[in-house]
Symmetry: C2
Subunit: 422 residues, 2 copies
């Protein structure tokens, strides 16, 4: 793992695959076809891309019951316990509507309302990610969203959605699940088909076609962020244990070749020990190939002069995950401006948050923690402003409001006020 | 104004101008040129599109002082009073960071941090909109954003930005203002030039080129919503005064030809009286042409069987602005699910909120109130999750977390936990 000097240009930004013009055209065509052809178009694309012929798109209750039978009881218990922790954390994000009253009798406020419906895209592929189902569905449920839809491509061999995904969906409280993947799933969620009613917001990760489709439908429905590759930054001083630091860097690197694992430390000794440990631990990893490439291309150890400079480097990186492994980690929290999730101390390695503790694992990547937040309850609610002016309030302020309107050349606005003042 | 029967298809959605392929290419070229050419490219586009040759992009302090001299004292006072109301309302949106403690010594929480920098685009053209400056800058200021940048195209004749905009910016607390408009302004804000440092988020309305540029840079920086044409829905019963209802419909219609003004009422008498009043009042409006076209194409009066049906029609519309003009308007508030801002009772006509009361006038348009909120302090802050697991917490839960990781095929995640459990 390369050891470098940190400077102001130090960045984890990777160029994200935004798709080619050709891919964009393909996605536009799929969306158009689904809008016109509905279920038939969805089924024909599912046959084409997933190699599965479907009679019905919707997952049956029996399939969900069957999925429970395919998991160990201990696995089900862990999923339930994780769900409970996630629910408990997200309930603390809930905010009430509020209203203020003024002496002149006016009232102003903010009303918080859940979205009517949301759709979660769950990618298919080699592994099933039930944690992703919990992390997306539970905040929506806590927010009060009535209709929560999941779409996921069916497996080519079983023609089904993996049991862990179905069980996680059931535990989280999502009852409406469709065996549809790719851009056709996004189109169906955005515009509806005969069997899939449209939703107001679409969340969840996906491949480049899914990401392009989300970009296309953005505006007609809401979307979450377009997720980039994952990353971790570890801020460590000489008290950090190299074996643990290396294990955490590798847990990020195994995700995919584009993942980025970065250590920032004022200690050259720690830097060198961690570099060695990474090489040692890499050898025995099942995902050796992926992790090696990630470490080679997007891994780095940045050595700084001081711990303050290390903190500033972390703020420049704005990492998705940040671990603070220093003697007194809590004392640095106030200085961290940009990070998706902050893991404090050696007993809080990143996987604690990926699966179990409660905070969301859907986090801003690729430097976007500068302006974005973890997925949270607010993402599934919206606010309405409330204005109630009393007669006195309008009498006191009406002329000023009318004057302001005329300053902007909007006479009808002024008259709307003045017709009440007569 | 046409009187129709409301039904489930009743909608205010207008097809928004998303630009042509050719316009998109032009915008991409401008962005590329600004990224490469910096200030020179910005100046050359400003000459080309705004007809103004600039030496310096930045507005000088003297120009701001001069702007004060060009406004009436009473205007300045109104701007200051409006700013104070807006500040006071948005301060109530502020939320603290929070942390919970568990019996096993763990702590979980959410840290709230302002964005480092934001840029506000202020359109040029016929009228100046100081209210838009107040409504965008103040929430950012309240959120704690340190660097707030404004860009706006210079006027062709004066080579300057209108005095009301400069004074509003100064009152709101934005000190860094550039005479740049169009896609070149968005590119400069997103990627920076020699004299304009890049920002983390761009807000504010603009023409189709500005909207396309915001779409292009989305992801590299955050953007607010892409605003569509404005609209109002008025929910009225037989107690509503036709003259006032008509005045309010027209105050929306004068904005632009695409604006939509809709009345929903169970009273056919009110419907007919309002239709007459609209015709009568239209005649004397300075913006007669615009308002007539808007009413003709996107105005409608929907008559329902009952007040409940009227409420449901309003929820289907999800209007940007909603006025409730009924005998007991407050009692309907709980049933309104989708609306950007809700104006209650006859002394709260929309212009009260457009300029003065305090809630934001940047609102979700074109039905997007189903899933979007008024511009607010949250838009200028982001959250970081905080996770601190105690040694006990990891001992109690570590094996479960490792098992979950292995269920998803992520061995290095499991090892990151287990290296601490040895």
């Amino acid at each position: 793992m390369k050891i470098l000097q940190a400077n102001e240009q130090t960045s984890i930004k990777r160029s994200v695959d935004n798709g080619t013009e050709e891919q964009r055209k393909i996605v536009q065509k799929i969306i158009e076809d689904v809008r016109k052809g509905g279920d038939d178009a969805v089924k024909s694309y599912t046959e084409k891309f997933d190699g599965v012929q479907l009679q019905e798109l919707k997952v049956k209750n029996e399939e969900i019951a069957e999925a429970y039978g395919q998991l160990d009881d201990s696995t089900i218990t862990i999923l339930q316990e994780a769900a409970e922790n996630i629910r408990s954390f997200h309930e603390k994000q809930l905010r009430p509507s509020w209203m203020t009253t003024e002496e002149n009798g006016s009232m102003l406020g903010q009303k918080v309302t859940p979205l009517d419906s949301v759709g979660l895209y769950v990618p298919g592929g080699k592994a099933a990610y039930p944690s992703s189902v919990l992390m997306n569905v539970i905040p929506a449920k806590v927010a009060g969203v009535k209709r929560i839809v999941i779409t996921s491509p069916p497996d080519k061999h079983t023609c089904k959605i993996p049991p862990a995904v179905l069980v996680a969906a059931d535990i989280a409280g999502a009852k409406e699940i469709y065996k549809v993947g790719g851009a056709q799933a996004i189109a169906a969620l955005a515009y509806g088909t005969q069997s899939i009613a449209p939703v107001d917001k679409i969340t969840g990760p996906g491949n480049v076609y899914v990401a392009l489709a989300k970009r296309e439908v953005f505006g007609d429905v809401a979307i979450d962020m377009i997720a980039g590759p994952s990353e971790i930054a570890i801020l460590a001083d000489e008290s950090a244990i190299a074996e643990e630091v290396a294990a955490d860097l590798l847990s990020q690197a195994e995700h995919d070749e584009m993942a980025s694992s970065v250590l920032v430390t004022p200690s050259r000794t720690v830097a060198e020990k961690v570099a060695e440990e990474v090489q040692r631990q890499l050898k025995t990893l099942p995902k050796h190939e992926i992790a090696s490439q990630s470490i080679e291309n997007f891994g780095a150890i940045y050595v700084t002069e001081t711990i303050e400079e290390a903190v500033e480097t972390v703020n420049n990186l704005a990492p998705e995950h940040l671990e603070i492994l220093t003697k007194n980690p809590m004392s640095l929290l106030g200085q961290i401006r940009h990070a998706g999730a902050i893991f404090i101390g050696r007993y809080s390695p990143e996987p604690v948050g990926d699966y179990f503790a409660g905070p969301n694992h859907v986090l801003p990547t690729n430097g976007t923690a500068r302006f974005s937040s973890p997925l949270n309850v607010d993402d599934f609610q919206k606010k309405s402003s409330i204005l109630y002016y009393s007669e006195n309030a309008l009498k006191d302020n009406g002329e000023k409001i009318a004057a302001f309107a005329r300053l902007e050349g909007l006479e009808a606005h002024a008259r709307s006020i003045e017709t009440r003042l007569k």
